[in-house]
Amino acid sequence: MTAPTTPSQTVGPYLHIGLPWPDGRFALAEGAPGGVWIRGVLTDGAGAPIGDGLVETWQADPDGRFDHPDDPRGAVSRPGFRGFARCPTDAEGRFAVHTLKPGPVPSHLGPQAPHIDVSVFARGMLNRTVTRIYFPDEPEANAADPVLRSIASESARATLVAGPAEDGYRFDIRLQGEGETVFFSV
């Protein structure tokens, strides 16, 4: 017996009353060693910044492990590391999360390159969109990654790979149009 699920609705323009947390952007606690910043801009189909969005990230730790009982290898916690971050975009569409670079994650389809799952919410979006961040310093792992490999277009694939930045990585999210980010059905 399967009960029908509850439909999604938009976060609307006033999500800031309910969703941001003071420590939201810190998947890794502020000041903890090894942290990198992943910064980007969320833009719409006209190339305009989206100033009322929210970006959430979820990922493995540097060993490719999760603090979660449904990982068959067992849950592994790491002090100061939550694996999850959420950041509202500012008026210029900017977001930033402070985290540890994840390790490779095994799967039955073959090893996955280090990656971060991303949810994007905003007014004008009746459901979240989901994408993945991959890393520019992992060319071999990226080439072997089963999810990246399944995307035929090289330019589309490239939208999922972050760029280097002084204090970490740069990952822009384009909801529509020129350079549109690849989004996934989960």
Binding site: T5, Q9, G124, E140
Partner: protein, 254 residues
């Protein structure tokens, strides 16, 4: 330079059980009746993402995210807010009927006059100094949750001529996996504004729309204190078997 994928390249592990796919339940990302979707939906077809470890796990946020009074939106200020005091309660289950225990629920809403405490909301209805409109709680062992708040008002917006949003409370849920994440809105029974609301009408199946409507719950009403509404939320449950079409990723067809 890239690092080796794994030190000793172990055999691939067996597949993990994924979550039921329920895309047909949800509104489309491109819905012209809601004008703001026009520039905010991807044009490229969504790519099927198999449910691997990152998708079947998720943040298990605990008590540290919830303050003692966070589930009572009427007690966040020196005085009491204006409006009809209500209890909103229910259960969070997955589509197999299993309760989703200890999961974070976050809500936000307008005040009794339909005004949000937000710099972006300036329509001529007063703010209430005793109402912020944000709350959070964790479900208990049986997946139950309970908020005390005031009934929010309807409010106008500029989507179409004489557009009004039906009264609603925004809900955000994590479940236990990235795949289960849900943000939605709870509505009140018999709202006369549904017919012209694109959020409501964007849900393709009329039965699914009704699942966003709370039930007036006289039994749970507290005499001389608060009316009650019951609203159950169903998150995606787990597949019972691994589906063949998720084992092999198809090549993109763009």
């Amino acid at each position: 330079m890239s690092e080796p994928l794994t030190p000793e390249a172990p055999a691939a592990p067996p597949p993990v059980l994924g979550y039921l796919r329920d895309r047909e339940v949800h509104p489309p990302l491109d819905y012209p009746g809601y004008r703001s979707t026009a520039l905010r939906h991807p044009r490229r077809r969504l790519k099927l993402l198999p449910h691997l470890l990152t998708e079947v796990t998720g943040p298990l946020l605990g008590e540290d995210r919830v303050g003692e009074l966070d589930n009572d939106l009427t007690r966040q200020h020196g005085g009491e807010p204006q409006g009809q005091r209500i209890i909103v309660h229910g259960r969070v289950r997955d589509s197999d009927g299993a309760p989703v225990p200890h999961t974070l629920i976050e809500i936000w809403q307008a005040n009794a006059g339909g005004r949000y405490r937000h710099t972006g909301d300036n329509w001529p209805s007063p703010l209430d100094p005793n109402f912020t409109g944000g709350g959070r709680t964790l479900t208990d062992e049986q997946g139950r949750y309970r908020f005390t708040t005031i009934r929010p008002g309807a409010y106008p917006w500029k989507n179409h001529d004489n557009a009004w949003r039906p009264a609603h409370i925004h809900f955000s849920l994590f479940g236990r996996a990235f795949t289960q994440r849900l943000v939605t809105q709870m509505y009140f029974p018999d709202d006369p504004l549904f017919f012209q609301d694109p959020m409501w009408n964007s849900i393709p199946d009329p039965d699914a729309r009704e699942r966003l409507v709370a039930r007036f719950d006289y039994e749970s009403t507290e005499p001389e204190w608060a009316l009650a509404y019951e609203w159950d939320i169903v998150l995606r449950g787990r597949e019972s078997t691994v589906f063949e079409d998720e084992i092999a990723l198809e090549d993109d067809d763009e």
